[in-house]
Structure formats: C-alpha cells, structure tokens
Assembly symmetry: C2
Homo-oligomer: 386 residues x 2
Amino acid sequence: MNLKQLSLGVCLLLFTGTFQFSQAQEISAMQAPQVVSPDIAANGSVTFRVYSPKANEVAVNGSWMGFRETLPLTKAENGVWEVTIDPLPSTMYHYNFFIDGVAAIDVTNPHALRDGTRYASLLMIPGDGAKVFQQNDVPHGSLSKVWYDSPSLGMKRRMYVYTPPGYDSSNESYPVLYLLHGAGGDEDAWSSLGRANLILDNLIASGKAKPMLVVMTNGNAWQSSTLTMAPGVTPPTRETYAQWSGKFEKSLVEDVVPYIEENYQVIKEKDSRAIAGLSMGGGHTITASTTYPGTFGYIGVFSSGIFDPNTNMDEMKNKFIALKDSGVKEYWVGCGVDDFVMESNKRLLSVLDETGFEHDYHESAGGHTWANWRDYLAIFSPMLFK
Amino acid sequence: MNLKQLSLGVCLLLFTGTFQFSQAQEISAMQAPQVVSPDIAANGSVTFRVYSPKANEVAVNGSWMGFRETLPLTKAENGVWEVTIDPLPSTMYHYNFFIDGVAAIDVTNPHALRDGTRYASLLMIPGDGAKVFQQNDVPHGSLSKVWYDSPSLGMKRRMYVYTPPGYDSSNESYPVLYLLHGAGGDEDAWSSLGRANLILDNLIASGKAKPMLVVMTNGNAWQSSTLTMAPGVTPPTRETYAQWSGKFEKSLVEDVVPYIEENYQVIKEKDSRAIAGLSMGGGHTITASTTYPGTFGYIGVFSSGIFDPNTNMDEMKNKFIALKDSGVKEYWVGCGVDDFVMESNKRLLSVLDETGFEHDYHESAGGHTWANWRDYLAIFSPMLFK
C-alpha cells in the first residue's frame, strides 16, 4: 500500500497544475512497475509478482525459507508470474527473485538491502513483531558516516556513529556501545540489515534502553570502507590472511575508542563502554575484551564463540579470569539452537562456566540470521549502563 | 579487478588458519558470482556477463545509451551471456540487465545505486574523468543522516548533512550550501548518485573549494524521509498536489536553515549561504530565493528554470529585481543542450537578461542526467564563499 501511494506521488510529478516536472529518475525508465509486488494481505500472507512474458522459469527465495530453497511462481496468460505464500509472522524479511536462474531484486519494491556483496528486497510484515525495528514516530538519533585515522593500521577508515536523540543540544556525556559485524559484512551492516539505529531509537523512546552512542566499525582490517581496499594494501590471500589476525581488535581499542572519546561527549570509563558483535564480530569481541581487560564493562557475543577447536583452553581460561577480575558488569551470550557455530558457542560457554564467570545465555530458535541478531541487540542493549 | 580482490578476501573468510568463520552474508547463497562482470579493460572497454543457461534473452541498458535502448548479450555454450562494448570515456555510469525483459542489477557487482524507487549497478571507468567524484586518498568529511522538527510541515523530517574534514576539531564557523534534488529523488540522491560528499572532499583537498557544510534535504514535502510518507499525511493526488506548492521551500528557509544555524558551527549571514538544485530542486531554488530575498548570497539552478509557460513574467521580473537588490554574489545556471527542460531554462535566462541580473550560464552537452549534475556541482561549488 505504501508502495502504491509512493508510485502515485511520483507519477503526479510528471504533470502538475502549476509546474511541469519530468521524472528526474534517470535509472532505466523500462523499470517502471507493471505489477504490484510484494502484495501484503492483512493476515500476513504475501503475493509476489513478476511481469515477464518471455521467461521460462521464475522463482522466489526468502529469508523465511531455507537458504537454497526456491518456490516457483506460476505464469498467467497476461505474462504475470505469481505466487501467494501462507501468512508470515510479523517481522522483517528479505527475498530475491530468480529469473531463469538469475538472482534479482524485486524491481517494483523500492526497498533493497545490501548484505556485503549481495542485494535483496525488503519485506516488512507489520505488527507487533516489527515494532522494535520499524521507523516509528519517535525521536530519532543521527547516523553519521565518519572517517578517522587508524595509526595502528596505517590508513584512513570509515565507521558509522549513532548519536541518540537530543545529543546535539545536550551537555551530558553518554555511554558507548561498540557494535561489530560478521564476515562478509562491513560498517553498513548493523544499520542496514541490523537496523541498530532504529532499534535504539525505539528502545530509548520507550525508556527501555539508556541513551547511548553506538559505534559501528568495519571489521575487515584491509578495507578503508565499504567494499573498498585501503590504498596500497594488498588483499589478503589464504597465505597472508593470518597476518591480519588481531589487527582489527587492536585498531578498535587503540584507534577507534580514543577517537570517539576525543571527538564526542562520552563517558571515558569501563562501565560506560560496551562491546558486542555477531559471528566474526563475536570473535573480535572475545579477542578485544580479553586482550584489553578493563576496557569494556559490558560484553555481548552473538552467534559466535571460540572458533578454533585447537585453542589452548588453559591459556584461554587465564585470559577470561583476568577479564573477570577487571570487573565485567554483564557478559551476555546469544546463539540460535540451529546455528552451525553451536560448537564454538559451547566452547565459550564452557570457559565461562569453568572460570566461574557470571553470564547470561540466551538460546533462541533459528540459526545464523539477522532476525536473531536484531533480537539479540534488542535484548542486550536494555541491559547496558544501568 | 577490485571485485575479484574483494571476492577473494570474502571467500578466504570461509576458512582461515586460526579461525574458522562462516560467511555471515545471509542473502541467498545462490547469488555467489559465477562470472566476472563488469570486466573493465585498460582501454575503457567493458564486457558484461550473465550466467543463465535457461534465459531466452539477456540485454543491457547503460547510462551511456539511450534511455529505452538495449544491447543484446550473446549466449555461449557454457550458459554465459556476454557482450563487449567500445571503450567508454572515463567517468561514472550505471547499468541494468534485462533477463527475459525483467530489469535486474548485475548480481556479480556489489556496487548498486538507488535513484528514487529504482536500482542500477555502478560502473566507474577510472581515469581523469572520474577523479573528481572518486573516493580518493584525501581527508574525508562526515556524512550524517539527521532528523529535525519541521514546524511548518508539522512533522519530523530527515536530511543529510556533510561536514568538511576537520570540522569536529575546529572552532571555526563554516558557510553552508543547501543542495536540492529533483522529482523522483529524495534526501539520498545527492550523496549516492550525486556523490556530493566525495566531490566536496576532493575539491576541498585540492584547495579549489572552500570548506563548507552541504545540507541535502528531502524536497517531497509529504515525506518524512526516503520513501516514507510522514505519519498521518495523505499522499498527494492529482487533485491535492497543488496544496503542496511552496511548502517545501517554506520549510527549507523557516525550519531547516534555523536548525542548521542553531546546531552547527556555521556563519549566519547571506553571503555564507548558498542554494542550488537540479530539475524540481532548481524550481525550489528559484521559489525559495525569490520568496526570501536576502537569505542566500549564491544561487545555482541546474537543468531547470521557470517550468510554467503561463507564468506572469512581469510579476516574476519584479521578484527577480527584489532578489538582485538583496545582493547576490553569484547566480549560476547550467543546462544540457539536449535537455527537455530547455524551454523552462530559457524562460529563466530571459528573466535574468531582462532584469539585468548578472549571471553565469553554462550550456553543456547531454541532457537531464546525473553526469551533468555532478559536473555542475564541481563547477559551481568552487565559486562559493570567495
């Protein structure tokens, strides 16, 4: 419905009573929508449509389906392919069409998402399950793409900084959550697929989370920013990859934290610094927190753990004991019951258990998905800085 | 080449010596690249490829071609469709594939652009023609998505604010360029397709432009932000569209300018305020500057003009005389020789001529394109605040 309204608004600009505008959209006019898709019914059922008299085969894959599963669309005589799915629970999904096997976003849906090198179309099923990460009519913080010097990596790098509503006109100092993405992602991930800024807007508005900054870095130490190699840096190969080990974590603590504390109104102490990450970012969280005990007072490890089965567990336990002794106010672990990193996650839990490290463990349904990571952030962030 | 490097880097994360990561990219694994596309030769020639044994017809449309023109790809026995085009001049382009007539972005190209409701893949031909809007190794300003209250429109709205390199650590006050998009676009347009932040980074680094803020608003007065109707607002129809006339311009001068001047380190005087816009945004520029003479000292009208042929030209001239008398340091007009708005542009030029309003007119090749608007910004911004 929003989509129809939008198209209508845009079409109107073609000719108006007073002013005659032409469509300034320059991207191929051949993309003008010919069907309505996705068509979301009140009960959460969805109809997908593609117009192609010429295609042999059209299918859809959505995040509510298996990773490699597809559902065929059926062609009608008018050249419109269509499929209707059973009602979906209210939450956020994404999907792709496959036109004769070629992945495509839904050209009639203006909301696309990037996840690393790939794009998909957004599908939001309204209702209670979407409220925490929808753009609601509440005060919104600012989201900034900020460049900083990283002396430890010898390059300029980009990150996203969320500042909460009221930050600009306040004299207060705020706590900071450092929020790390997974392999294949970059500094865009937590605000696009993760909707971290909207989650914080909503939780702050309802009084559930304290106003805080959220710093979303690029965890690929060879990149300066989204999809971009740093100038003069040779891309990692299987042989050279190990040389990058620990470098991002060092740059996070030695470059990013000081930059934030110098340039923003923030509280410069352990109990006002939190760190959390998903998958590879959970690995970064473990490394950064144990290498620099006393830096972070709150720690969240999402769908991750101790990846290497050959880790020297005695050494690891000693590191966790030092971290525990530094004073951690909350150690939170979340993992999906079907997640393929469950073994790594269990290694982390066993270290926490064996060192008597007080922690919360949240085992959710599902696997290695943004649906889980958005939930984990919405559970973890209200625990911070209280 | 960057793409291959990138894929390599990402693939490496599947297994590394110390840590075993899984690809955290959640968007359909079926999108993994099977071919190299776009494949850019040293001479600027480009080969496009699509893997689809099943398709009947694959074609490409690019911004270097006609708006509705397509070029067919040819299928080889291995199921790879391919076409190579003659060398393109160095600059930025975009393109779409059509798989059996269905528009698609290039799934092997991680760089997609949104223009209003549509997406295309980015094609950058390196060289002199791309330098001014490439991400070069120079200091970068910050780009922030900022929400503000618009009392005149009765809603919260979003805009982008570019602050120049050094802004955060400086005690200086800066001048401000208000930069307006065209019909079909929104507050994203000037930073995504327009690359305004990179253009300013590069021009400031080379000393050609003065450090300045650039404020990129949403000119669709019924939207709160990108693609989103403001809460409680009825979308415009052909009948109600006229009621929105002039409302954005009012909100720009009465809401946005005061917000910026209250919350940023900026110089609060006419000669430190510039306004420019493309197409519909050029119309907004003309209306805002003549309705509020004395507000802006620098004015740029890109591919636009006086749209309504029934405008009362005597009234219009009086407005321009009042604007001229307020003291305008630069009035700059740019239009492509093939642009369909040339008649509107000529009406503007005739008003400027007939009122003896000193101005610069830049007539470029081409039409109503982002290639022109990026150029115009790169010509106009160095003239500001000198």
